[in-house]
């Protein structure tokens, strides 16, 4: 039997082979950042025991303010609701992180679920990235501050979006990824749409 091979949600687009260095030739650049770890964490943000245990396990404070995120080198913790967070971890880290959280939260009203197969991340950059977001979503991205994350519409689907560096990161559900990518490509094509290589995590 061959070695196990992962296939990301956008595998069928063959993005890796089209990727190139970002330059001025396109107004919009994007690519999939595959195989990250995704942990869904549920618990009561007003429960100090839960917050402390989770923060300690994660090594970063659990963001308690709505629509904010906190991050360390390895992971990002996105506030999704007063009792829900998404933890985005480096590839291969999800399992360990899940165990660690579950141990820390033993006996605390909470839920820790590995959802790594269920999501993927899309890098969106370029001088016209904001214009593209205006095409695909109803949210006012112009006022989206760094360190904030929003769950909003993407076409007739949805995405979690935050800023990182010069661009944006979108976290989308696996089964919708095909639709979302096609939609994104259609919206971006008028500006010149390039597949970026070495998309920064």
């Amino acid at each position: 039997m061959s070695e196990p091979v992962m296939r990301s949600p956008l595998h069928s687009f063959g993005l890796a082979s089209q990727a190139r260095q970002i330059d001025d030739s396109c107004g919009v650049w994007a690519n999939e950042i595959p195989y990250l770890g995704y942990i869904s964490l549920r618990g009561d943000g007003r429960d100090q025991t839960f917050v402390t245990a989770a923060s300690n396990a994660l090594g970063v404070p659990l963001p308690l303010q709505s629509c904010t995120l906190s991050s360390s080198n390895d992971l990002k913790v996105l506030w999704l609701s007063p009792d829900e967070w998404m933890i985005v971890a480096a590839p291969g880290q999800a399992n360990a992180l899940r165990s660690c959280l579950q141990q820390a939260l033993a006996g605390v009203r909470s839920q820790v679920v590995d959802n790594s197969g269920g999501y993927t991340k899309i890098f969106l950059g370029g001088s016209k990235a904001l214009d593209v977001l205006r095409h695909v979503s109803v949210y006012d991205f112009e006022s989206l501050q760094p360190n904030r994350v929003v769950g909003t519409t993407f076409g007739k689907s949805s995405a979690y979006v935050f800023r990182q560096g010069d661009g944006y990161r979108l976290i989308v559900r696996r089964s919708f990824a095909d639709y979302i990518w096609r939609y994104l490509a259609r919206a971006a094509t008028p500006y010149g749409f390039g597949i970026a290589n070495a998309a920064p995590g």
Binding site: H11, V113, S116, G155, S175, Y179
Partner: protein, 1016 residues
């Protein structure tokens, strides 16, 4: 052909850039900057349409979106566009336009024959005739052929569209003088401003009025300075060619931007959208939408060459086209005087008939000085001319009453412009419930200058009835000052602009709409109110006479304002004439309701990117590529695309399904079950929660075990079903139907959040995380054994309805021993990133056993053979678990009254003779009943036939080598019981497509009734 070009500095025509175009196959030339209308006029084309009802010759009346007549078919083939107004089509080289009316030709229109009999075709005549229902289709066919303007394309659209969602602090609609000033002030205050203008450049009426002076500067220079400053501000965005067509609640303005239509076909960028829908959410909206001049209503006022006076002026000043040499102007107000002077300056002779006996002395002086032949106190009784105007008969008007006191001169002319006053463009203000009010002095429906401060809608300029330039600008300064003050911004940014003009103070217009001709309405020459729908003043009087008195009735009876111009020229005249006919005031008549779209917008723009492959989301499983590679046919299920069957070369569906079924029953099959909804539930109260939302009991389900559950709505009807596994005592994983996943999660959240927040339960969707392959058949264990580690697969260690954790092909997996086929079966769940890999690994492992992938069709056959229901196919929202003969899945003993339970006890739900699920066998085993066949008592199908139920599922069973079906039948369970059989009540007929087949009611479990196979 008496029109001529006027070369005047400041005109928006580039005489260095000639363009060629065609109209109705005739070549013409124009210049860059022309609209199709201005170019046609410059070429002397007067008649370019025939009227809707009477086939009367028609020409251009307006210069913008108000144009009722000049509806054009632009371009041909896939790029063709019907019904564009020539006044809004920017000319480009090579443009092709065709008329949309006039059959067989413009010169001779068949409908003009009908026009001879116009008196027998008054408003609403068709309600009074053609009353034979049998003959009506023939009449209707003729009516339909005669109706309609342009033609829809015959091909799909080669161009694309998109949406842009914007958020502004201040949205200014209209880039005329007031709008520009408003945007400038808001921009200088540092606010995020968007300014929209429907034309290709800002300026509004100033573009038609080059001799206006603002703050000592000529209009042109003033515009350059203001627009230049706006464009230099990073916080201000100016969108031209962008028409705001709707204002929805909470200041959501929709506007369509034209990105390509002004370019020659060859120059249009393939990747660029043709049009863009801007959905702009604004904290404050400033409506600077201006006003549109309405014509006066007089006899034969529809002859080509008769326009609004402002259109004449616009063609002259902005487009460099003098429409005629001898121009007759007719007015009731001051607005035409500057235009009259401009026409003289261009070399025209001008007669100006003012309905007022005494006019504004300042204007009178200027006009006379310029050489205008002023006739005061006169009205036009009727115009002369057929295909173009050649004169008009004047009448002397009483100074007070709108009656004729004597005859007047007959004036020759080759162009005629009239002005009945300005009608503010109040449409957007009214879309979200705002109402305009009638200003008797200004003779206009206006909106308040204060707008609707609570909604943060402000109005400036002509839309408020401030028709004078200086007054409008001063009012804009005050209003924007208020707006800025409300935001705590300095208000001096507007007052810094000098807005003094040299315009004389205007004096009130005369209250006249319909120029009297000395005859009773309906006896004189036709005087049109709505050109596009051929609605005359007499039609409105007739409607009122017939008691269609509400303005909405008048509109609907006569079609007033129903055209593609939405009554921009006609409505106020119509309201006024209706008021006269009813003998009431105009405010008592009121207005019709203003509805979007202010100007028409393409379906493509509305759809944006929601077209073609991105019309709606389509979801794929992680194993999709595996199925494509194996040649699967697919079936849409909810948002998903699932493999339907996997035909081998030469196989049809029947053959493929037969092969797949037998593989699963005799050997081993494999199916992608990833699309089922999966919800992870955690918390110490999950059991209790499950007990409330499912009909059955969950108190004793042990870790490592699974159970099937029926989920009911509160009405007691089955809404979803699925298997839930107990992972640990406080951790469960629920599966739902493919189509029901999102609904179920939302349903569970709603109950938890609203009714039972104290229950310790968290729910998270893991549908997308897990990829699931079901391995099905007697050999499934052997296949799995080859790749599975960490699980004892023996039947004693891993029983039916158990689940275990281990690895499959080296990947951590949850394996469920559950079965939707009645066979030994395992469902392998892995991280979806490995879904593709694990599917292929299972295929490899199953190779030696002939593992056969199968799709939804085979799944349906297998489950039907076992009598397993599909929610939504065998149920329709009216079936209780008891109706499904599934009492075993209901626990009436649970302490909590689970959702839906109480409804069972209602008299009808608990009553006899309900439709119940049964199996059906046809007398002829080869006949596969139609799904949807109706169950009836006797073979006689002459209606009406009482129906007892219907076939919900029907297949040919390869296992049984005969057809089988499931059905819901009244009292079906009794009918198929021993007693029912004895009474012969179990034999019925299934009727479909006119044929009735004898059927026998049996148990719905056709294969392995004892359920032994799944336990091996």
């Amino acid at each position: 052909m008496t029109s001529f070009r006027v070369r005047r500095p400041g005109a928006r025509i580039d005489f260095e850039k000639p363009l060629s175009f065609s109209f109705d196959g005739q070549p013409y030339s124009g210049f860059a900057g022309d609209t199709l209308a201005s170019a046609l006029l410059a070429n002397g084309v007067r008649m370019l349409a025939r009227s809707f009802k009477y086939g009367r010759p028609r020409g251009i009346v307006g210069s913008g979106p108000e144009e009722p007549n000049a509806l054009m078919q632009i371009e041909t083939g896939a790029h063709t566009i019907p019904n564009l107004k020539a006044t809004q089509v920017e000319l480009y080289d090579g443009l092709t336009a065709r008329r949309t009316t006039g059959y067989p030709t413009l010169e001779f229109d068949l409908k003009s024959i009908g026009g001879v009999f116009a008196r027998f075709m008054p408003a609403g005549f068709y309600y009074k005739t053609f009353q034979n229902q049998k003959l009506w289709p023939k009449f209707e066919h003729i009516i339909r052929q005669a109706a309609g303007y342009g033609s829809a394309p015959a091909e799909p659209d080669p161009e694309t569209y998109d949406h842009s969602h914007r958020h502004a602090q201040v949205l200014v609609v209209g880039g005329g003088a007031s709008g520009l000033l408003a945007a400038l002030a808001a921009g200088r205050a540092g606010l995020k401003v968007v300014l929209l203008d429907e034309q290709k450049e800002c300026g509004g009426w100033l573009l038609s009025s080059p001799y206006s002076i603002i703050g000592g500067k000529a209009a042109d220079a003033w515009l350059k300075i203001v627009i230049g400053e706006l464009q230099s501000m990073p916080n201000v965005e100016v969108l031209t060619r962008t028409s705001a067509f709707a204002l929805h609640d909470m200041n959501l303005v929709l506007a369509v931007e034209q990105l390509q239509d002004h370019l020659p076909l060859a120059e249009r960028a393939v990747n660029r959208p043709r049009q863009r829908l801007h959905r702009i959410r604004a904290e404050s909206v400033v409506l600077a939408t201006g006003a549109i001049e309405r014509p006066l209503v007089f006899g034969n006022n529809d002859v080509p060459g008769i326009m609004t006076a402002s259109a004449l002026t616009t063609y002259l000043n902005r487009y460099g086209v003098a429409v005629g040499k001898r121009v007759l102007l007719h007015t009731s107000n001051d607005h035409v005087y500057q235009g009259a002077c401009d026409l003289i300056r261009a070399g025209c002779e001008v007669v100006l008939a003012d309905a007022r006996a005494r006019v504004n002395p300042a204007w009178e002086k200027r006009a006379r000085a310029a050489g205008v032949d002023l006739r005061l106190g006169y009205g036009i009784s009727f115009a002369r001319g057929g295909r173009e105007v050649n004169g008009a008969q004047l009448v002397k008007l009483d100074a007070g009453q709108n009656v004729v006191t004597g005859t007047g001169p007959s004036i020759d002319c080759d162009a005629l412009g009239s002005s009945g006053g300005l009608s503010p463009t109040v449409h957007l203000y009214c879309h979200d419930g705002g109402r305009p009010h009638w200003d008797e002095e200004k003779l206009a429906f206006v909106v308040p200058a204060t707008g609707r401060a609570k909604s943060r809608i402000y109005c400036v300029g002509a839309v408020t009835g401030e028709f004078g330039l200086q007054q409008a600008l001063e009012q804009t300064q005050r209003t924007i000052g208020d707006l800025l003050a409300s935001l705590g911004k300095p208000t001096d940014t507007t007052s810094a602009v000098d807005v003094r003009t040299d315009e004389p103070q205007t004096v009130p217009p005369r209250r006249i709409f319909r120029i009297p001709d000395g005859k009773r309405e309906g006896h004189g020459k036709k005087a049109f109110v709505d050109f596009q729908n051929d609605v005359s003043a007499a039609d409105i009087h007739l409607a009122v006479r017939e008691n269609y008195r509400s303005i909405e009735h008048i509109k609907r009876y006569t079609a007033l304002g129903f055209g593609t111009d939405q009554g921009k020229l006609s409505n106020v005249n119509g309201f006024a004439i209706a008021a006269d006919a009813r003998g009431v005031s105009i405010p008592e008549v009121g207005t019709t309701t203003y509805r979007p779209a202010y100007s028409p917008v393409t379906f493509g723009t509305l759809a944006g990117l929601h077209a073609d492959e991105t019309f709606e989301p389509r979801r794929y499983s992680a194993m999709h590529a595996c199925h494509v590679a194996r040649g699967a046919e697919f079936e849409p299920v909810g948002q998903w695309l699932r493999p339907w069957y996997f035909p081998l070369p030469g196989e049809d569906m029947h053959a493929a399904v037969r092969r797949e079924c037998l593989a699963a029953r005799r050997g081993v099959g494999i199916m992608d079950a990833s699309t089922l909804g999966k919800i992870d539930l955690r918390g110490k109260d999950v059991r209790e929660f499950l007990g409330r939302v499912y009909a059955n009991d969950w108190a004793k389900l042990a870790p490592g075990k699974c159970r099937y559950g029926l989920m009911l709505d509160e009405n007691g009807m089955v809404m979803d079903d699925g298997v839930t596994a107990c992972i640990t005592d406080d951790h469960f994983v629920m599966t739902t139907t493919t189509g029901g996943a999102a609904r179920v999660l939302s349903w569970l959240e709603k109950w938890h959040q609203t009714e039972w927040p104290d229950l310790d339960v968290y729910m998270t969707s893991v549908t997308d995380h897990w990829a699931t392959a079901a391995i099905v058949g007697p050999k499934s264990r052997e296949v799995l054994a080859k790749v599975c580690a960490g699980i004892d697969l023996s039947s004693s260690a891993f029983k039916f309805m158990d689940w275990r954790e281990g690895t499959v092909a080296g990947i951590p997996a949850r394996v469920f021993r559950i079965s939707f086929s009645g066979e030994l079966a395992f469902e392998v769940n892995v991280d979806a990133n490995y879904g593709h890999y694990v599917w292929e690994a299972l295929m490899d492992a199953g190779g030696e056993f002939g593992i056969t992938p199968y799709g939804t069709e085979t799944m349906h056959v297998l489950r039907a053979e076992k009598g397993f229901i599909i929610v939504g196919q065998d149920t329709d929202g009216s079936m209780t678990p008891l109706d499904l003969d599934m009492a075993w899945a209901v626990s009436m003993k649970k302490p909590f009254s689970f959702i839906g339970k109480r409804s069972f006890a209602r008299s009808d739900t608990a009553g006899p003779n309900r439709k119940q699920l049964v199996g059906l066998l046809t007398e002829d085993p080869e006949i596969v009943l139609a799904e949807g066949a109706q169950i009836i008592e006797r073979a006689d199908t002459a209606p009406p036939v009482p129906m007892l139920g219907h076939v919900t599922s029907s297949y040919y069973s390869p296992e049984l080598k005969r057809s089988i079906a499931l059905a819901v039948v009244r009292d079906g369970i009794n009918r198929r019981s021993e007693e029912g059989r004895k009474a012969g009540r179990n034999v019925l007929y299934a009727h479909a497509g006119g044929k009735a087949h004898k059927v026998r009611l049996v148990s719905p479990v056709f294969v392995d009734p004892k359920g032994e196979r799944q336990n091996v």
